[in-house]
């Protein structure tokens, strides 16, 4: 029976069937559309650095700056991205028990909403004032981005990064 089938197969004419190929084409079209969309979800925040190189600064800097400082009060428990306990391997995220102290000018707070309010007030008082972000050891990228985001939201136009590196 097998040999009969094989003989049949070698003698048959091959018919080109369009249906499955069209199905596959559509599947791939949809795949393309999803992939492209995924790529454009990234955004960027400008974090321009001061251009001053060398000691010869002609500006005397009497300008009032809004200094934002970030300190870690409590590092927080490390968790795996899915919420389970972190065992030391792989990527981790911090639990909600992480506490960061934000000092915005003279005010200190651990709440981002307060930071937002303070930044709005300070910007309204002096719309020209620059802001500086000073991140202390232990601060992670996400902490800084949130603060930078709030500063941009409060319409600060001159934001620089200062502080000790490591």
């Amino acid at each position: 029976m097998v040999s009969a089938q094989l003989k049949e197969m070698s003698e048959d004419e091959c018919e080109l069937e369009m249906t499955p190929m069209i199905d596959v084409t559509f599947l791939l079209l949809i795949f393309f559309m999803c992939t492209l969309k995924f790529k454009t979800l990234e955004g960027k925040l400008a974090a321009y650095l001061p251009k001053d190189v060398g000691v010869n600064q002609m500006q005397a800097e009497p300008i009032e700056k809004v200094e934002i400082r970030l300190d870690v009060v409590k590092e927080g428990t490390k968790l795996r991205p899915d919420g389970t306990a972190y065992k030391g391997e792989g990527r981790y995220v911090y639990d909600t028990d992480r506490v960061v102290r934000y000092s915005v000018g003279p005010r200190k707070t651990t709440s981002l909403d307060e930071v937002a309010k303070s930044l709005e007030e300070l910007h309204q008082k002096d719309p020209e004032s620059p802001a500086t972000i000073d991140a202390r050891p232990g601060i992670i990228y996400s902490d800084v981005v949130k603060v930078l985001d709030l500063a941009l939201g409060a319409d600060f136009t001159n934001i620089t990064f200062v502080g000790s590196y490591e």
Binding site: D12, C14, E15, L16, E17, P20, M21, V24, L28, F31, K39, T40, L41, E42, G43, K44, L45, A46, A47, Y48, L49, P50, K51, D52, V53, G54, V55, N56, Q57, M58, Q59, P81, R91, Y92, V93, Y94, A135, G138, I139, I140, Y141, S142, D143, V144, V145, K146, L148, D149, L152, G153, F156, T157, N158, I159, T160, F161, G163, S164, Y165, E166
Partner: protein, 194 residues
């Protein structure tokens, strides 16, 4: 080819061969294309920011992108330029050699712009913070890199890595002053900012 007869009683043997060929061809095509477009971008989770400018890079243009995942490695186009586990054992001068080399190359490759006098920078369409630069000690005839370095870091990456990169950007010979921090845009159903 028998196109005419579509008698419902005729049995049509399903020929799998061309379909499988096409599927394989397309899988290979996708794999190659996806790999080529994703080389710049490492897989990491970016923090969300509401005031971000959407990232629409010109795919034909070169762009310096530095990825820093949660483990603190600095990766450029799939090459690890600095790995804390390996490089921290080296003496200070050697640790950051690779990254400094790359920053140097990037700086040289960037389109240059003139050092402008203190005023708002109009040729920075993506920046909502118009940096007012200080006068350059060598005068305004100096050309400095005018393109931005994109830093993509994971949510839990220690910020000191980014601070270190910024420090390197500032040194003489590199002088990259436009830095962009990659973030992800919020989902449409998130609470809008007040």
């Amino acid at each position: 080819m028998n196109l005419a007869k579509h008698d419902p009683e005729t049995e049509m043997p399903m020929n799998m061969t061309p379909m499988i060929d096409v599927v394989f061809l397309l899988i290979i095509f996708f794999m190659i294309i996806t790999d080529m477009t994703q080389q710049d971008l490492e897989e990491l989770v970016l923090p969300v920011a509401a005031y971000a400018v959407p990232d629409k890079p010109d795919m034909d243009e070169w762009r310096p992108v530095l990825n820093i995942p949660y483990d603190g490695r600095w990766i450029v186009r799939q090459e690890v330029k600095y790995d804390p586990e390996v490089d921290d054992a080296k003496p200070e001068e050697e640790r950051y050699k690779q990254i400094q080399l790359w920053l140097n190359e990037a700086s040289l490759r960037m389109k240059k712009e003139h050092f402008t006098t203190p005023s708002h920078d109009d040729d920075a369409p993506t920046c909502s913070c118009g940096q007012t630069p200080y006068p350059h000690p060598q005068g305004s005839g100096v050309l400095i890199p005018g393109e931005a370095l994109l830093i993509r870091a994971d949510e839990s990456t220690s910020f000191r890595h980014i601070q270190k990169v910024m420090e390197f950007c500032g040194i003489k010979g590199i002088e990259i002053w436009k830095v962009q921090l990659a973030v992800s845009e919020p989902e449409p159903d998130d609470k809008p900012k007040p």
